[in-house]
């Protein structure tokens, strides 16, 4: 038994290290799932609505983006709390996070402020898991981006999306994609948003129709499963562009369309999921407990990730052992 445990730990470390190094998907037995609750009637856009306070939320741990320019060299660790719902016609995401500073753009004469912002990305097609940093040609990602003081935007990323120049031109996009992320044309701007900052907390509701006729925006269907990942920007640290915090991929599971009524609200309860399912190369989603501003570099992230993976594996195995002995 003891031998087995030790072997397990070592194997765990080796596998985790190799997988992390290769940028492969790490999956734990506990798959991080965000359930999209079915709700009868209108879904409130108001983040203060009682529906959003009562519905259960999933904690999304974030870690600094260190793979592409501009990297995150100033960061505050933070966690998003996310809930999702649909009502047959519309899909909504509720995202809240603690933020001690309200940073908003668009104030007359303020040219130095960077705004707090949040984004969620979805695979455009179901052919496989996209690369978490802006997708790839075969697996583009659709990104909804909300920025304080500026509003919501629907975007797409994935170096050309595997489309011909003519096809792109026909749907109102640039023929040759040169930007890593592109704003979708007006007819694809299907999201609406509302946000509130109060008591050191941002609450944002993002809503769109379930279906989409635009090729680079996925349609959502009751009972189906897709993926979602999140990103968050802290304006007070000048975070913008690639300088931000990201999550790993989460499963987004639409509850079946029930004729009888809503699945929720359930009593306010937060499910914490350890997001180790990720396709990033160096950053497995980690929760660091520092609240001060930290300067992060790649080495620290890799080191921290490895340590946390080791701890998690060890803890898991220790728990199993306690239960079995």
């Amino acid at each position: 038994m003891r031998k087995g445990t030790l072997l397990g730990i070592i194997l765990g470390i080796v596998v985790a290290a190799i997988a992390t190094g290769l940028g492969a998907v790490l999956a734990t037995s506990q798959t991080p799932v965000i359930l999209v609750h079915y709700k009868q009637g209108a879904i409130p856009l108001n983040p203060d609505a009682s529906f959003w306070s009562s519905v259960s939320k999933v904690s999304i741990p974030l870690s600094p983006q260190m793979l592409v320019y501009p990297q995150t060299y100033k960061s505050i660790s933070r966690t998003l709390k996310v809930a999702a719902a649909y009502n047959g016609t519309h899909f909504a995401l509720f995202i809240e996070w603690k933020d001690s500073t309200k940073d908003v753009e668009g104030i007359p004469g303020n040219i130095s402020a960077f705004a707090d912002a949040v984004a969620a990305e979805f695979p455009v097609n179901s052919s496989g898991m996209p690369y978490i940093c802006m997708g790839d040609t075969a697996h583009p990602v659709n990104i909804v981006f909300w920025k304080a003081g500026r509003g919501v935007e629907n975007m797409v990323a994935g170096s050309g999306y595997g489309m011909q120049p003519g096809e792109k031109y026909a749907i109102g996009m640039e023929e040759a994609t040169t930007s890593p992320v592109e704003e979708l044309p007006p007819q694809a701007q299907i999201w609406v948003a509302s946000a509130k900052y109060e008591n050191g907390m941002w609450k944002v509701v993002l809503m769109r129709p379930m279906g989409s006729v635009f090729p680079l925006v996925p349609s959502f269907k009751p009972g189906e499963t897709t993926s979602v990942a999140f990103a968050n920007w802290e304006g007070s640290l000048d975070q913008r562009a690639g300088m931000h915090e990201i999550s790993g991929w989460f499963t987004l599971k639409f509850a079946p369309l029930t004729a009888t009524g809503t699945v929720t609200p359930t009593p306010a309860k937060t499910t914490t999921v350890t997001a180790t399912k990720t396709v990033t190369k160096t950053t497995t989603a980690t929760v660091t407990k520092t609240t001060t501003v930290v300067k992060v570099n790649k080495g620290v992230i890799i080191g921290l990730s490895v340590v946390i993976i080791v701890l998690a594996v060890a803890l898991g195995l220790a728990l199993i052992r306690r239960h079995t002995t």
């Binding site: 501009p70 668009g106 004469g109 040219i111 023929e175 690639g242």
Partner: protein, 469 residues
Amino acid sequence: MIRAQFAMVINLDKCLGCHACAINGKKVWTNREGQEYAWWANVETRPGVGYPKLWEDQERYGGGWVLVNGKLRLRLEVEKKFKPLEMRDYYTPYTYDYKALFAPEVGEEQPVANPINMYTKKPMEIKWSPNWDDDLGGANIYGKADPNWKNIQASIYMTLRNIFMFYLPRLCNHCLNPACVAACPTKAIYKRKEDGIVLIDQTRCKGYRYCEIACPYKKIFFNWKTGKSEKCIFCYPRLEVGLPPICVETCVGRIRYVGVVLYDEDKVLEAASAPEDKLVAAHRSIILDPFDPKVIKQAKADGVPDNFIKAAQESPAYYMFKKWEIALPLHPEYRTLPMVFYIPPLSPVIASMGPNGTYDAKYESIIPSIDEMRIPLQYLANMFAAGNVDEVKKALKRLVAIREFFRRINVEGMSKMAAASVLQEVGLSIEDADLIYKWLALGKDRWVIPTRNRPPRLASQRIPSIQSS
């Protein structure tokens, strides 16, 4: 790959400091909400701190490229500490309460239009403006802060500040190696393949302001209203119909010149990485001779239209920067290969600094007097040649020789042939002198602007930027 590029030359010797260029640029492009503080074209007085304040201090603003182990890197990436500018780095935009002039209350005094803050709409006291130190106003306080005093003793400065000044009109340099383009994470900034104009695509700009930090000339202006950055567009809608940029056409001193130059795109990186004292020479070396049959053949093969090649042969910018070497780039040490060139000021030609800081006119030996001119060569070299005094000397000597040539003819009644000995001394011909006279003295044919039928805008028509990471 040979490309055509619009370039500008500004003759500092004759700039009046009238600000017509700046005012017209403002009126045409930035006279609107969101860009109140922005002056795509501005005029500074030197010595002085410029606009935005001390923009040349890259330790403060993080602009341009630096060589790290021989490799070109953006300064903002090497030291990750730079922030975008704040309004106080520029000034608080103001207007005046003009209503007070038209509907004055009856009183003893003349009605006065008091300054009003453009954002708060409340009365304000003006404490800085885009040309606050105009004509050396307050130079006793600000002049010393001018970064171009590098390697010049403070004591010399104290004497000099009383005897020289000149104007420095500025705009985006539409650089060959633009730091702004390289810094943009969304690739919203691009350099047009057909003429090298650097533009920000307003649909893809996300207002990240990396370009603003990266531009060493501080010629990117964030629009707080739209959330996107803006910059000088070299008046491309005017160029496309054969008109010069508005700052060129309205220049009261007639000292702005625009033309096309042909350059070797493959050599850009190499030139931008040259040692500091060779930067001007390296920059010149990638500008090609538009009369060379090999260049013409290659340019055609690379898609440069015939009328652009012809325009390059008549281009004031080609002659002044490349052929005669009388124009110099502003701060080549930023390594962006700027394409606006400056003819350094002689100010005035024959006066030099005598003992006790008095004017001293040494007339007989006009060329040797260059070293004793009122404007210290080191100051000009710090500004236009990365400290290389020889480059400035060469340009000034040629300018002095031209004047002497025409003085000999017009004042002394010498024949052209006899007068030409002074030209030979500096390596110019009589034809060169006539052309220089036509452009610099008479101000004729100041722009040569070819047009072309523009194809639909394609992203593939952008010049890829050098990525520093």
